[in-house]
């Protein structure tokens, strides 16, 4: 029973039924939203400071201690900007797109466990819910690119669909490995079953899932949708003001959501000694985001065909192999100590990654015209 | 050191092959008639001993009574150079044959000379203004353009 349900039950004994149902829900949503928005602002600051460090410069450090208020200044600046809608755009869709990008991101947090019983709804199909909800953003991005009536936007929109669909498969297959091992689709159950973090039990699955999610949240080296050096800003090129802020928040919210999911699925979520669960979760989320920023500041971007090849020829076969390995292990090895599984899986992961890096080279790609 | 070939000697070689093509020649440059420019250029490019495969610079000079189109040619293999010139006396419609089919390096440079000096390069595949916009009146690098 989650904290929220307990609250509902308690309230139900003193208030009428409908109020006892709605009020705790609102309280829960407000708390989670507060957490998300604060974390998003922290993320923006964190990324800028980290990028500064990676790029031999300081990063924002003027507004407030260590520049902590810089994201707020950015937010104010963005909100005060004029909202420009291109004359020939499809107005309704242009208006709707940022909402469709932003809302699913928030909805993901409904199933993220922040503590042992601190979760908004403990869905028994939590993982499936995450996968389903997070795919909706692709529609929003496609709508944004299409409705802007801009050629860069259109290219970006088409890239978005291809990229999202391709990377969904390895991500889902990697999640299946986790689900097999945990024996449940519920997020709380998955966390509870991680006596040893699944990062150690399934290193390959983690790598696939991590790369897949980085691609889904359009971050470098897979940031082809925004690719500021090629298609300028891609799908949000024609957005300004609050609508742009929605995309901006959506992007960081996406990063936060996926960092939470990665932490939950592979890094044993809120579990950890001494510190309270929420602190552990934040630490893990920050660590995951650190790696994402590190990749962003280090690696050049892939080309679109290489990106697709990487998904279909690189990640997908590896994800399938990983799934079979995990299934076999769960079937035959689960009786013996899990540390054996750790050793075996690290060997498998090393061999497979090495094999793929030898067999599979990106490059080429010229088309005869 | 890139050896600058003596214009008079090169002119002699050209004259042997194409009599009447040389308008003038001195130590520094060979001046050919604009009619025979393309043949001479082809000869300079394809003769093994000359082998001018690299068109460094192409420009035009307005001497008020005539325009002079200047070609600086280099041979990367022999490391020697020659200056080839062609004059056109028609002020309204100065024309020389284009050498784009020999050296593609001439593509932008001829367009530039057309744009700024008004020289018409006959046979250029895409003789449009390069730096100024379509519809600009006049050719600013001419001496009489104010």
């Amino acid at each position: 029973m989650t904290l929220l349900e307990q609250f509902q039950l308690w309230l139900g004994s003193i208030w009428p039924g409908w109020a006892a149902y709605i009020v705790p829900a609102i309280v829960g949503i407000v708390v989670v939203l507060g957490f998300v928005l604060t974390m998003v602002i922290v993320f923006i600051w964190y990324e800028r400071r980290l990028l500064g460090r990676f790029q031999v410069r300081l990063g924002p450090n003027r507004l407030g201690p260590e520049g902590i208020f810089q994201p707020i200044a950015t937010a104010v600046k963005i909100l005060l900007k004029e909202d420009i809608v291109p004359t020939k755009s499809d107005k309704v869709i242009h208006w709707l797109a940022p909402v469709i990008v932003f809302v699913p991101v928030l909805m993901i947090f409904a199933v993220v466990p922040f503590g042992e019983r601190a979760i908004l709804t403990d869905l028994n199909v939590g993982v499936v819910y995450v996968v389903a909800i997070s795919s909706i953003s692709a529609v929003g991005i496609y709508m944004a690119g299409w409705a802007s009536n801009n050629k860069y936007g259109l290219i970006s929109a088409l890239r978005a669909v291809a990229q999202m669909v391709s990377y969904e498969l390895p991500v889902v297959l990697a999640i299946l490995g986790v689900v097999l091992m945990a024996g449940s689709l519920s997020m709380t159950q998955i966390v509870a079953s991680q006596k040893i973090p699944f990062l150690l039990l399934q290193p390959l699955g983690f790598v696939i899932f991590f790369l897949g999610t980085v691609a889904e949240m359009n971050r470098s080296p897979f940031d082809l949708l925004e690719a500021d050096s090629e298609i300028v800003a891609g799908y949000h090129i024609e957005y300004s003001g609050m609508k742009f802020a929605m995309f901006y928040l959506g992007e960081y919210g996406h990063a936060l959501a996926y960092s939470c999911i990665i932490a939950t699925l592979f890094l044993s979520g809120w579990q950890g000694p001494l510190l309270p669960p929420i602190i552990w979760l934040v630490i893990k989320v920050m660590a995951v985001f650190f790696v994402i920023v590190w990749m962003r500041s280090t690696l050049p971007r892939l080309r679109v065909d290489q990106l697709m090849a990487f998904a279909w020829k690189g990640l997908l076969p590896m994800a399938i192999i990983n799934l079979f390995i995990v299934a076999a292990e769960v079937l035959w090895l689960s009786e013996i100590t899990p540390w054996l599984m750790v050793a075996v899986n690290f060997v498998f992961a090393g061999v497979l990654v090495l094999l793929w890096s030898k067999l599979f080279t990106l490059g080429g790609g010229r088309v005869e015209v | 050191m890139t050896k600058a070939l003596n214009g008079e000697e090169v002119a002699k070689k050209i004259a042997k092959k194409f009599p009447g093509s040389i308008a003038a020649a001195d130590k520094a440059a060979v001046v050919v008639t604009s009619k025979s420019l393309y043949q001479v250029a082809e000869f300079l490019k394809n003769t093994r001993t000359l082998d001018f495969d690299y068109l460094t610079n192409l420009t035009a000079v307005d001497y008020t009574d005539y325009f002079e189109v200047v070609y600086h040619l280099i041979s990367l293999r022999h490391n020697h150079s020659v200056v080839l010139k062609a004059r056109c006396y028609d002020r309204d419609k100065p024309a020389v044959p284009s050498v784009v089919s020999l050296w593609r390096a001439a593509d932008f440079q001829e367009r530039e000379a057309y744009d700024l000096m008004g020289i018409i390069f006959e046979g250029h595949p895409n003789l449009k203004r390069l730096l100024l916009w379509e519809g600009f009146v006049g050719h600013p690098l001419r001496r009489d353009y104010l």
Binding site: L51, F54, Q55, V56, K151, I155, S220, P221, D223, L224, D228, S229, E230, I231, V232, S297, T298, L299, P300, R301, L302, R303, V304, D305, Q306, L362, G363, G365, R366, V367, E368, V369 | M1, T2, A28, D53, Y54, T56, N57, T59, V61, D62, V70, L76, N79, V83, W103, R104, A105, D107, F108, Q109, E112, L116, L130, L131, L132, W133, P140, L141
Partner: protein, 367 residues
Amino acid sequence: MAIRTEPFILNMGPQHPSTHGVLRLRVTLDGEVVTDVELVMGYLHRGIEKLGENRTYAQIIPLTDRLDYVASMTNNFAYVLAVEKLAGIEVPERAEYLRIIMAEMMRIANHLMAVGFFLNDLGAMMTPVLYMWREREKLLDLFEMVCGQRLTYNYMRIGGVSHDIPEEFLPALKRFVAEMPGFIDEYDRLLSQNEVLLARTKGVGILPKDTAINTAASGPVLRASDVKWDIRRADPYSIYDRFDFEIPVGTVGDCYDRYWVRMQEMRQSVRILEQAIAQLPEGEACAKVPQLLRPPVGEVYGHIEAPKGELGFHLVSDNSIAPYRFHIRAPTLINMTALKDMAIGWKVADLIIILGSIDVCLGEIDR
């Protein structure tokens, strides 16, 4: 049922982060594949050639700064060499060395920027640029020490340089020369074997040797296509025949080779700098040249190996104080001739890096 498709015309620029200025590329796309590229330029045309015809010979030097503003010292150098060739002026020994030092420093500064922004075009999010900026900043400080400017130097004079170097310059330069190879090694470690960089640049935008020669490509673009042609060697100007350096050449002429050639050229420039510092003689920094120079009637074409390629000045003199005709052979304009050959059949993303690997500067293309 066959799906009907249409070509897609995309106007890239003049405002685009990766056209390195106000260049417009009119790209015809088939999906993401480039089927045609047309260059539209002239957005930065200032008529420098026409302006030059109304300036005295000395007054043109600041104009040349505005050509390739990333490497303005070499523009000065090329121009004063051409004028000296025209007027037959001897340059003092010390001035020659100072010029070479400046030119090679400028080459390093330019290549740092070229490589950095090439990586940026690849999508490396400013990191390589900022690393390279660290060293370029030191070079700019050195230039500032010499002539008080960081972008448009106006340092060279007809007959020498404007004034001698300050005494703190040489120690600072020596320190830079000593530490620069280490930094180039660092870039090499960070970049040259990067898997994504290799995947994106190897075999991309190949410029075959004969096309490179035929389109008169010059500088690193020509040398990347395996043509060992460096004007510093082929037609040594100033005192380049006194230095020992190698000419790095590429093998196939793809984007990676152009990147690699630039990295190697920085090393060679450091070598030249070392030798020039060691040999630097005492003496005058500028010859006695009349204030209003009237070169004899005639014409001259002076060319040097600028960082971006062969920079040439074609001057016609009529024995007046201003050149009768002042023409600039801009290396990047002519290097761009081959852009179409390199880019067709590649994707939009490749078009951007091919353009970046040419290392364009619009100040020079449009003049």
